[in-house]
């Protein structure tokens, strides 16, 4: 941070590094072309009727609901984890960070299997859940939320921890010196200051949850209206109606863009 705030160093080489531009241009094209492909090949004429189809609206609603609930869970549980990782010192902190961000690098299908072994009907915790409360998570909408939260929460943790670290800890110290308690400081000083970071993390988390496929199909299965979210529907549709799958992919793309744009206006252009 401090490096960036300094005045730019005066150097002899004023010309831009063209090599970087060229590589960046290739990189941008690589990222954008698949989206162009979707737009070019989409069967626009049949799109409106397809989007009104009952199974599509059902899957979309399920996706939006589960991604939102997952994000709420991720906020409630993830922000405290991020605070712990950024603001406290204890011996196993690095280990804790590695454990909490593991789903970021774990293949989602492997995550789904791990979830089954933990929260499934025969799972380490799941067996007890079933016996004590009669709750069985696989094949339920709650199971979808569990899978999505598992995969998406690390995105929020990483984003919030990053902005907490970027925050000057002296604000907290100042609040404390004025007699504020730790929890008062957290709620009225720390949280408002990292709000943009939390929002960015929540958006990332929501988008990841919306696109979740591997862990969901492995842990929660695939049933229309209950566990068949949009990505699962896209995959299934691709098998017998590829044209429809293109339209559904576009729909997911549109939803993601809408959310990014909407949140930018609220949080990022201040």
């Amino acid at each position: 941070m401090t490096l960036l705030e300094r005045k730019p160093l005066k150097t002899k080489a004023a010309r831009p590094p063209y090599g970087l531009f060229a590589l960046a241009a290739i990189g941008v094209a690589f990222l954008v072309l698949p989206l162009v492909g979707l737009l070019v090949r989409a069967p626009w004429r049949s799109a409106p009727s397809l989007l009104r189809r009952g199974d599509v609206t059902t899957a979309l609603r399920l996706s939006l609901e589960t991604a939102t609930i997952s994000t709420v869970f991720a906020l409630v549980l993830g922000v405290p984890i991020a605070w712990l990782l950024a603001r406290t010192r204890f011996p196993a902190r690095s280990l804790l960070r590695a454990l909490c961000t593991l789903p970021l690098v774990l293949p989602p299908v492997a995550g789904g299997i791990a979830l089954l072994l933990a929260y499934g009907r025969r799972g380490v915790v799941g067996e007890w859940l079933l016996r004590a409360f009669g709750v069985s998570l696989p094949f339920t909408t709650a199971g979808v939320v569990v899978a999505e939260t598992f995969v998406a929460m690390p995105f929020l943790i990483v984003a919030v921890e990053g902005s907490l670290r970027g925050l000057d800890a002296r604000y907290d110290a100042a609040a404390a010196s004025l007699g504020a308690s730790r929890s008062f400081t957290f709620r009225h000083v720390t949280l408002p200051l990292v709000a943009p970071g939390i929002a960015a993390g929540a958006v990332l988390c929501w988008a990841r949850a919306l696109g979740e496929f591997g862990a969901t199909i492995t842990f929660a299965g695939s049933y229309p209206g209950t566990t068949q979210t949009m990505p699962l529907q896209v995959y299934l549709t691709l098998q017998d109606d590829p044209q429809a799958a293109i339209v559904l992919s576009l729909l997911l793309l549109a939803v993601s863009i809408a959310v990014l744009v909407g949140l930018r206006d609220r949080w990022w252009s201040r």
């Binding site: 089954l116 499934g120 009907r121 025969r122 696989p138 094949f139 199909i217 299965g221 695939s222 049933y223 229309p224 566990t227 068949q228 995959y235 299934l236 691709l238 098998q239 017998d240 590829p242």
Partner: protein, 255 residues
């Protein structure tokens, strides 16, 4: 799962030893290079074994196998995946590839019937297809777009049973996994899958299965880069030694 995969590889290696004398190349020049074979998920154990035998008989050839739901594989072939041989779990799927000119003259090489897979010892006491519709029985089925799913739908229609599954899986192995892990109480899979799963599940036969038999067609894919080896592999699958591997796993002869 891992232990099963290892067992399959080991069995394949054993068979590979005996097979090298069985099938000699019939074409003039020695075959070589990669041979890409796409096969339905239910063919995984047998085709892994067949590939080992084929490689042993043709030392220059490396068989590259890809397994999945027949429809997924067909979609990939239609998108131009470089495949030499395609073995599907039903004729409808194969026909989509043939009609897009990506494969020619498919031949049925085996038949497979559905069976109910249940937990070892059959704790839910499932005896007939109608038991799958009982409350409290968690049933896993294949999605209707996949051959095992359309066969299941046909069997339920014949039996007049209105089953309410908890999930529609993308391929037959996923259904079996859900039963093996105990998350589902029962699933409709192929007889061969039950056999391959060994002690991890029990199989229960039902009479309606005879009305929903899947024929497995095999064909050379026209986009393949190794047509000679592809032709030889199809011939090997149809040969007596190839058929022996398939029937040993529970498949029935095509005719």
């Amino acid at each position: 799962m891992i232990r099963r995969a290892l067992a399959v590889v080991a069995a394949g290696a054993l068979f590979a030893g005996c097979a090298s004398s069985g099938s000699k190349p019939t074409t003039g020049g020695a075959l070589k290079g990669d041979l890409v074979v796409f096969a339905a998920a239910s063919l995984k154990p047998t085709f892994t074994q067949l590939a080992k035998q084929f490689e042993a008989a043709h030392p220059g050839v490396k068989v590259v196998l890809s397994f999945g739901g027949s429809d997924t594989l067909a979609a990939q072939i239609k998108q131009g995946a470089p495949v030499d041989v395609f073995a599907a779990a039903n004729n409808t799927t194969m026909q989509t590839v043939v009609s897009s000119d990506d494969a020619k003259s498919p031949v049925n090489f085996v038949k497979n019937e559905l069976e109910m897979a249940v937990a070892p010892g059959n704790p839910k006491n499932i005896r007939a297809l109608s038991d799958l519709a009982k409350p409290g029985v968690k049933l896993a089925l294949c999605a209707k777009a996949v051959p095992c799913g359309s066969a299941a739908a046909k069997a339920f229609a014949v039996a007049g049973v209105d089953a309410k599954p908890v999930t529609f899986e993308q391929d037959v192995t996923s259904v079996l996994t859900k039963v093996e892990l105990g998350e589902a109480d029962a699933g409709l899979v192929y007889r061969t899958d039950v056999k391959a799963a060994g002690a991890k599940v029990d199989g229960v036969d039902f009479p309606e299965a005879a009305k929903a038999v899947n024929s497995y067609p095999i064909a050379q894919v026209t986009t393949g880069k190794n047509p000679n080896a592809g032709k030889e592999f199809v011939g090997f699958v149809l040969s007596p030694s190839g058929q022996a591997v398939l029937t040993a796993a529970g498949f029935e002869p095509a005719s």
